[in-house]
Symmetry: C2
Subunit: 695 residues, 2 copies
């Protein structure tokens, strides 16, 4: 271990994950493409500076020789970059870019003045930057360059990170250290790390970031914090990343000294107009706000008897004057215990469809509850006909084992994105969206995400927001090649692809959900029944008793929120997919599944399988020793060991709890849980990370 | 900036401060010492493995060739390391080590079997490890090796870091990120960074570390946390570093379920004995506890009508059975507002002198109040005749500008250590001590301490604890050579040496103290007068009014706590040193100093001088551009800019406040403060770092 941390071994030192998927290691000779020069007239233009710098650094590092940047095309095999406006050589090619949006890029192998060239261009220089990162990625991952024109355009306009970062640098549900925004030192000192954050995001097409927690603090709108935000915005702008903030609905009271935040009050409206104007004076391309209102204690328009639409439109009107947008979260539940928590977002927002201003986007979590390892898609995606929707996914693994568990989320997001919202129509969730926002897993840890594999989830967010039909496996393969090298990509991808289903199995199989310990959500707590309101308790969600288990969402009426085809399929236990059986139905423990096993037997088998899947991942990883640098290999080995221990903890705590309800024996052939139920119930972890309410 | 952060430039990447003073850069040819091999029989022995690994890595890096480790002496210019017991070649030399303690080391250039060798030895292998680090330091700093026997032994047995780190990884008064102890992942995952922490500490002779905050949490004594602590102890042990914890006095109630923590209660006594035995079963060389009792809300023996001695002795008895020690803090103040806060530690502890068990050490802050930029030494150092004392200094800069201000503390600690406790006798503070404990400035930031220059304070703690008469300038010179290179050491040292006095000047000249803003202590707050108790308020400490300023500690009786010689000198304004004038005396604003200036004129001059000193440091630093790697140079430049801005903030806020009391005009020739007093009073920073009570 010593060697890894000592100065001399800088090549090993570097493998601490800081470089993410932009490692640019020297390519094997057979993979080196001849690039003689970078031709970039007007090299200081917006985004072009970043594009040619990155290309120069990356190419020199991968090819092993010096690559000059200049404005003359003098050699064979030059790399010509820019837009038609900035680059006369490209202008001469007359590339037709009209069908593409202004973030698209085109790669073109061709000849100019008799010289073979690679061309990267786009309508806008931002496209050139995206193309530069694509080009480097192709080389890095050992893939051949296309031999004809290749173009790529993002599917969505909004490809966002949501940081749940507080002004004291704690991160709600963050497992990777502190917030990368060091508000105390801003604006005078901007950590150079923020440039690397921008590079990483631009490399995967992310074009916006919400700096602050949805549980918002009005202070961030104070004049000195606007200066701090401006310093971040100025640093991110060259990489095409816009800055957004969360707006606390009661800010006019807390910051403005008003007596109310009522959206129909003219003083309140004026306060928001003035505040928005103040922000845009400093940050001309400010993106807008995210608002969490009337949810989990946050203030909102309902405090004044107004609707979500009235609240949203008031702030949206202020933003519209400056070109900003408002993302209004649909994750709401009021202060009465509902028949079904899963039904609330729809119940609140469906009646408001069509009542929002055109610059309001409703931000909807992928599933109807809360980022669980498996949920069906939210019914709002099929129900908002007149209101644009943004899908919110959680990159940070609040419910999937924090940083130490390997759980690749690409498969989960693909499942949501590919869901048909109407079974007989063609529309899929992805067709209803204007974008994707991912709750960031980024922090001050050296490896950014708390674990090396969690970098894959950041990567997948960007790639799937750019191209949602790319497929989780393809994304995993790209990432594995860039991060660990092409030689080991296959086994790494195999681990990644099975990883999320393993978590589903060891935490909540067959559509069970929300069974974790209170507050921090670390470890199992299916027995919890004493929280402040019924729908915070796991027992509310699983409805287990002596006779059966599962939430009857047919009886609760929730199924009606989905389109008719879904009502038929999900409405009967026999036709519902088994992986959502207990989400939609309460069935007897003796209910038989297709396998011939009872629900109880299948649950025990799944819990056990989840644990054994982690053991398999450990074994697969162990085989890669020596094929991956020792430092990352060791850390991942140790994390997988923790994951196996904690998977077993979930299994061994859950099984005796269900037995305490159903009185059934352990099916034959399965290991008896290691400890008693009382033992597992007594486990108490007050300082588990990510819980900023108590931390 | 881009180049600094990009993968390819690994040599630049490395200069992010992570390597501390152990950079081991290739030496210029003229400075390379010929070392042909490392001769270390029994290379896996305790501490020897770490010694030869570090030597191999360091030498190879500095000399530019491979250096083998073996058990045969085969070449000229070998480096022979070990103890007489572990190394036959050294046994043959018959080095007389009896006069030295078992942490000392000896370096010896000699011949063995006709071959020129360098020998590093000691009575114990820990001495060999210390010698190895000394040897590497000599080479790194471009100094010649001694041409005859050289030995070095630590002056104090206890050379400790105190981490004020909480179990949720927040750090009280920490300005360098989160705690390096990741309790959540321990014991299963130990960050390799902890090995580098151990290396850094061993390199400067630190031999113990208190992992947890003095504002203690009983939870750290729970069985699972003992396993976590054991994992840290196991990692630090090879480097000669013992682990200590803070013990919450009420732990028998909170953890043990007892009804009382009364030290005379047999059940309480038994609980501590059992708990200590449990710890030692897991960590055989556990160091012991630090206790903060009956101070700032912490529970203690006085809750049960018992004395500090009764409380301390009860826990000390439990530790004595296992060989542990108890460090009992003298930083106490009870719940009544005292005539003089500065008098309290003495008032409480002087009467208890001689009543403590032999394994109790009273831990006394260097000054009588609280780590202010300047205080006289604590009177307890001259008063505890029968009780061992440990000096507690604050490495983290709670009162000296957090991480962004450059303030080298070696000069401050030297001032305390060199203070004669009796003016006519010879005894100095340093003669009364058993050790030094420094409140850590270490965190998860890449550069460990939040700023590059703050690394010097960690370094100085170790070096002065080893050799307290070394002198702050010598220590600064060592550090500057190791950290920035020999070529720039002179100007760097010049900045360091003037830096602390600059802070004194711009925050509280002439012996003023405790004038900072509430809670986080960021920025000026001399006007604060509304806190929960009188002696929390700056106005309590400065006693300024229309007529004069300063705390009359003669009238308060506090001066009597010092020896007679001091009473005479400090007792009169004419003989008291001007830099402590207002600490001991309340004088009229018109009081004339030696310079001929009035106190008011001198105060304004000092505030102004403090700011100009920072401007001078900035100018000196600017001249080093190009002589220091760009990355560190830039960060330090930006921090110095912040320091100048904040020094001016202190000056411009303080001067109008004093004018609001004394009604005097600004002396001629001085700049008018930039804003009004009301402006400065309105500044409000709720999220300044380090304040874990509110953070």
């Amino acid at each position: 271990m010593l060697m890894l941390t000592v100065a001399a071994s800088s090549s090993l030192l570097a493998e601490d994950g800081y470089e993410l998927w932009m490692r640019y290691r020297l390519l094997p000779k057979s993979k080196r493409v001849a690039i003689s020069q970078i031709v970039c007239p007007n090299p200081t233009d917006r985004h072009l500076k970043e594009a040619h710098s990155e290309l120069k650094t990356g190419l020199e590092s991968m090819l092993g020789y010096s690559v000059k940047v200049g404005d003359k095309l003098t050699k064979q095999d030059g790399l010509v970059i820019g837009t038609a406006l900035s680059n006369e050589f490209i202008a001469g090619l007359n590339v037709d870019l009209r069908p593409f949006n202004d973030e698209a890029f085109v790669y073109l192998p061709t000849t100019i003045n008799g010289k073979r060239v690679h061309v990267i261009t786009g309508q806008d220089q931002l496209g050139v930057l995206y193309g530069a990162f694509w080009f480097l990625r192709q080389l890095q991952s050992g893939k051949p360059l296309p031999n004809k024109r290749y173009y790529s355009a993002p599917r969505y306009k909004l490809r966002l990170l949501n940081h749940w970062d507080n002004l004291n640098r704690s991160v709600e549900r963050g497992y990777a250290g502190q917030s990368i925004w060091d508000w105390h030192k801003l604006p005078d000192y901007v950590d150079p790390r923020i440039i690397d954050y921008a590079r990483a995001n631009a490399s995967i097409g992310i074009n916006g970031t919400v700096l602050t927690n949805v549980n918002a603090n009005a202070m961030v709108l104070r004049a000195d914090y606007i200066q701090k935000t401006k310093a971040v915005a100025d640093t991110l702008r060259p990489y095409g990343i816009k800055v957004y903030l969360t707006a606390r609905f009661s800010a006019p009271i807390e910051l403005g000294g008003l007596k109310t935040a009522d959206p129909l009050d003219p003083q309140v409206q004026q306060w928001w107009k003035d505040k928005v104007a103040e922000i845009y004076r400093e940050i001309h391309d400010f993106g807008g706000f995210v608002v969490k209102a009337n949810s989990e204690g946050q203030p909102g328009p309902q405090n004044y008897g107004r609707s979500h639409a009235e609240g949203a439109n008031m702030i949206a009107d202020a933003l519209a004057l400056e070109g900003g947008i408002l993302m209004w979260r649909a994750f709401v539940y009021d202060d009465k215990t509902p028949v079904d928590r899963a039904a609330q977002a729809y119940n609140e927002f469906k009646p408001l469809d069509g009542k929002f201003r055109s610059n309001v986007i409703v931000q909807v979590k992928n599933g109807p509850i809360d980022f669980q390892p498996r949920e069906p898609f939210s019914p709002l995606f099929g129900a908002l006909d007149k209101t644009p929707a943004l899908m919110e996914v959680q990159v940070t693994k609040e419910y999937l084992g924090f940083a130490t568990h390997l759980a690749y989320l690409g498969t989960m997001w693909q499942e949501a994105l590919a869901s048909p919202t109407r079974l007989r129509g063609k529309e899929k969730v992805l067709d209803t969206l204007t974008g994707i926002a991912g709750v960031s897993n980024i922090g001050s840890d050296r490896n950014w995400c708390g674990s090396h594999f969690d970098q894959a989830n950041w990567y997948a967010l960007g790639r799937l927001a750019w191209e949602p039909t790319l497929g989780a496996t393809k994304v995993a393969d790209e990432w594995a090649r860039l991060t660990f090298g092409t030689a080991v990509a296959k086994p790494v991808v195999s681990m990644m692809i099975r990883s999320r289903e393993a978590v589903v199995d060891y935490t909540g199989p067959l559509g069970l959900t929300h069974l974790m310990a209170t507050g921090h959500h670390y470890g199992p707590g299916p027995w919890v029944d004493n929280l402040g309101r019924a729908d915070w308790n796991p027992v509310y969600f699983h409805r287990g008793d002596r006779d059966g288990i599962g939430f009857d969402r047919v009886g609760a009426g929730t199924l009606k929120q989905y389109a008719p085809g879904w009502r038929e399929i999900w409405g009967k236990p026999e036709t519902a997919p088994e992986n959502l059986l207990l989400w939609f139905h309460h069935v007897p423990w003796s209910y038989r599944l297709l396998s011939g096993k009872t629900v109880w037997e299948e649950m025990v088998a799944r819990y056990t399988h989840g644990v054994s899947e982690v053991a398999t991942m450990r074994a697969e990883w162990a085989k890669l020793k020596g094929k991956i640098d020792a430092s990352r290999h060791l850390q991942i080995s140790e994390f997988l060991k923790i994951q196996e221990k904690e998977a077993k903890w979930w299994r061994d705590a859950s099984i005796p709890y269900w037995q305490s309800l159903n009185g059934l024996p352990l099916p034959k052939g399965f290991d008896v849980p290691e400890h008693s139920l009382d033992y597992y119930k007594s486990i108490f972890h007050p300082y588990a990370p990510g819980n900023t309410h108590t931390g």
